[in-house]
């Protein structure tokens, strides 16, 4: 729906009316308006075959984290160590909204799909940045989100673009027009559910989890039918039996200082605990197509800091979980931090690689970047831990329990690695993570769930007199050793991309977007974006030119300067 001569406001009004009309047209809009693409078609309709091969596709960027393994390794070397110093902006697109941006640009055959805070979606010409259509979700009056009105992007499948919204709906848009095909309720926003993640499309299913770990929800991952939005399966991240094995130590062997005797005494009364124990899943799962298993990280228990009302290990919070792609049935789990009272949970999306186990044998592995500051490497077969990396940030006084007066412990509650997706370069055996160093105090208080309002069970407070900073860390996932580290002046949040050009790209809250040598961390190029670059970069190729694309919109959580730009970079002619 190109309307190049129309004034912007009028164009938006038309778009809005078209979108609104679509809302009432759900049933009749299902018929395909374009023929399904084939290998010989226009390639703008996304087939399962295209998604399966996304990791080898140096033209498109089809999945939030590059491929189903979520390696964020882009197989195009046109922009490389030798020429990246000449990288220049090709175009800048400005959205209608000056607020936090966390979108991963998705590129299909020269069309880019990006999102903004408050659930706007834009389709852009990836060569020029020209707007093709704009969709704005009309949000309901109740939205409950802890950490900003963020959205991390769309999923693409067939001729549709899928968006999960702050008011907890899954919306399918026509990829060519932005018209609503259908909309399904995911969960009740008044009960604390919301969506900020990009969905994952696979084999006719749209997978989506939920936010709400700060709101007394019962976390889940759901699979919706891509055609009509009906629920195929639901996996609850909080089983009714969630007490676990009364673990005294975390995954790294450190004492959690739990009062297990008191917890056991309280357990018989906690029969309804599963209904509000949290366990959000707000990052994309990885998919192992060979075994048809899905792997995802499950967030913190509710309330974050107050463990008194939630005896037990609080399964499967702070865990790696695997379920069957076709049925949603539980396969295995591994809990990094049992009975977490620090919100040092598992947030960053899981990454599948083949890694060496402790017997020197290469096995299918799954990695997760923890807020603890460790990269955990687990077996895919049974979720068991192979190793954890050296700490990427300072750890002090772990695990000091939160107190009424506030206890200092490092890392602070944002990590380590926050939600920021990691990248890998399998040829180097390296995984790249961006980290925060934010000294905090942890305070605990007890209060009942206030229905749809923040429920932390205390407070995390940054210690204003202590220095904060960040880093980019490359970890050898076959040994757990840190290979290189670059310190940044501010805590880092957003994401990172590795490419076959021997580069990693990542941005900072101060507006710097930079390329580093993926083998040794040397900074080879930088650009000042004018607002925080706190979103994961993507890459694509159109008409023989490779581009790097990233959002510069700042960040609510760390209060980095807001902006509204999508910037695409390429090499000069």
């Amino acid at each position: 729906m190109l309307m190049p001569d129309m004034p912007v406001l009028r164009r938006l009004a038309v778009m809005a009316s078209v979108a609104a009309a679509g809302l009432f047209n759900i049933g009749s809009a299902l018929a395909d308006e374009t023929k399904p693409a084939t290998l010989y078609g226009d390639m703008s309709s996304v087939t399962q075959d295209m998604l399966d091969r996304a990791g080898q596709n140096g033209n498109d960027f089809l999945l939030t984290n590059g491929n189903y393994s979520q390696q964020r390794f882009y197989p195009n070397a046109q922009i490389n160590r030798g020429n990246v110093a000449r990288l220049r902006p090709a175009w800048i697109f400005q959205t209608d909204l000056m607020e936090s941006m966390e979108t991963s640009p998705i590129i299909v055959n020269g069309i880019m799909y990006v999102t903004t805070s408050f659930d706007h979606v834009y389709a852009l010409d990836a060569r020029t940045g020209e707007e093709l259509w704009h969709y704005q979700q009309k949000l309901g009056p109740i939205t409950t989100y802890c950490c900003g009105p963020n959205n991390r992007g769309v999923a693409v499948y067939g001729d549709a673009v899928y968006l999960a919204t702050l008011d907890s709906k899954l919306v399918a848009l026509d990829a060519k027009t932005g018209k609503v095909k259908w909309s399904s309720d995911i969960a009740d926003p008044e009960a604390g559910y919301s969506e900020t993640m990009a969905p994952t499309a696979v084999d006719g299913k749209i997978l989506v989890g939920t936010n709400g770990g700060e709101y007394g929800i019962r976390g889940f991952v759901k699979a919706f039918d891509a055609k009509d939005g009906h629920v195929i399966w639901t996996f609850y991240t909080i089983p009714e039996k969630n007490l676990g094995v009364w673990a005294e130590k975390d995954a790294t062997g450190r004492d959690l200082h739990r009062d297990i005797a008191t917890e056991k005494a309280n357990a018989p009364q906690a029969t309804e605990l599963y209904k509000r124990l949290g366990g959000g899943v707000w990052q994309n799962p990885s998919v192992d197509l060979a075994t048809r298993r899905v792997y995802f990280s499950v967030g913190n228990p509710s309330p974050d800091l107050d463990g008194a009302a939630r005896p037990g290990d609080n399964l499967y919070t702070d865990s790696l979980v695997s379920v069957d792609l076709d049925t949603g049935k539980y396969i295995c789990h591994f809990q990094y931090v049992p009975h977490d009272v620090w919100d040092l949970d598992a947030v960053s999306p899981t990454v599948l690689v083949d890694a060496m186990d402790n017997d020197g044998k290469v096995v299918p592995a799954v990695m997760e970047g923890g807020k603890t500051g460790h990269v955990y490497v687990n077996r895919r077969s049974d979720c068991g831990l192979i190793r954890f990396s050296e700490a990427m940030v300072p750890q002090e006084n772990m695990w000091t329990l939160p107190t009424a007066a506030g206890a200092r412990m490092l890392p602070g509650a944002n990590g380590g690695v926050e939600w920021s997706p990691m990248a890998t370069d399998p040829s180097l055996g390296l995984v790249y993570a961006i980290n925060l160093h934010q000294p905090m105090t942890y305070t605990v208080t007890s209060a009942p769930y206030p229905n749809g309002k923040l429920w932390l069970g205390g407070a995390f407070a940054v210690i204003p007199t202590e220095a904060q900073w960040g880093n980019i860390t490359a970890v050898d996932y076959n040994t757990g050793k840190i290979r290189w580290q670059v310190k940044t002046p501010e805590p880092m949040i957003g994401g990172i991309l590795a490419t076959a050009g021997g580069l990693v790209f990542t941005g900072e809250g101060n507006g710097r977007f930079a390329a580093y040598d993926s083998a040794n961390g040397s900074r080879l190029w930088q650009f000042q974006a004018g607002a925080g670059v706190n979103a994961p970069p993507s890459s694509y190729n159109v008409d023989g030119k490779q581009y790097i694309a990233v959002a510069a919109g700042g960040n609510v959580q760390l209060n980095y300067k807001r902006g509204n730009a999508i910037i695409a970079f390429t090499l000069p002619e």
Partner: protein, 191 residues
């Protein structure tokens, strides 16, 4: 003393208005009760009463809901919401959310107080929920330009649990020094 009288007379007026509100029908009629305290033109009759014109619908609804359930305690408001259904409360919230936020002509805080407010924000992350420029959204209230005395009272009430319907705010206010609350209120009122 004059201020005390003003509060007292405001309360009496409000009570009279509440007592007179027998079975109103439309949302406009229901809203007339609110005007007695919150102002016919959106400027509340007392400094400790909040601006509700232009406040976010989700937030207004949750507060009405909490007054009705008793989670938030206020004798006047308890009486006002006693007979309201969920739909009534949602409609009233929508009605006031559509109004224009009034200009209370509160002065900008001096730099030293703004610096305190910025330090508080770094520590507890106010703008993580209340967003840039403290405008709020949906279920999180706008703070910028809110009544100064109401802001200060709210922060203190969260701190003491006199207002207990948002334990998260209680925790954050307890993590903030008492001495920082007055500069914070000055900053937000004039923002």
């Amino acid at each position: 003393m004059r201020r005390k009288c003003s509060i007292l007379s405001g309360t009496l007026l409000c009570l009279a208005a509440v007592a007179a509100s027998a079975q109103p029908q439309t949302v406009e009629q229901k809203a007339e009760v609110c005007a007695a305290c919150h102002g016919a033109k959106g400027i509340p009759v007392d400094k400790t009463y909040p601006v509700i014109w232009g406040q976010h619908q989700g937030y207004l609804y949750l507060e009405l809901r909490d007054f009705k359930s008793g989670a938030r305690k206020n004798d006047l408001m308890t009486a006002v919401v006693a007979d309201l259904s969920r739909d009534d409360m949602m409609a009233l919230a929508a009605y006031f959310a559509k109004k224009t936020w009034p200009d209370l002509r509160q002065k900008s805080a001096p730099d030293a107080e703004a610096a305190v407010a910025n330090r508080v924000n770094v520590s507890i992350g106010c703008t993580g929920c209340h967003l840039g420029q403290y405008q709020g959204d949906a279920t999180v209230p706008r703070l910028a330009g809110q009544q100064h005395d109401y802001l200060l009272k709210s922060m203190r009430d969260f701190r003491s649990r006199a207002r207990a319907n948002n334990p998260g705010m209680t925790d954050l206010m307890k993590a903030t020094a008492e001495a920082d609350l007055a500069p914070e209120a000055d900053f937000l009122a004039g923002h």
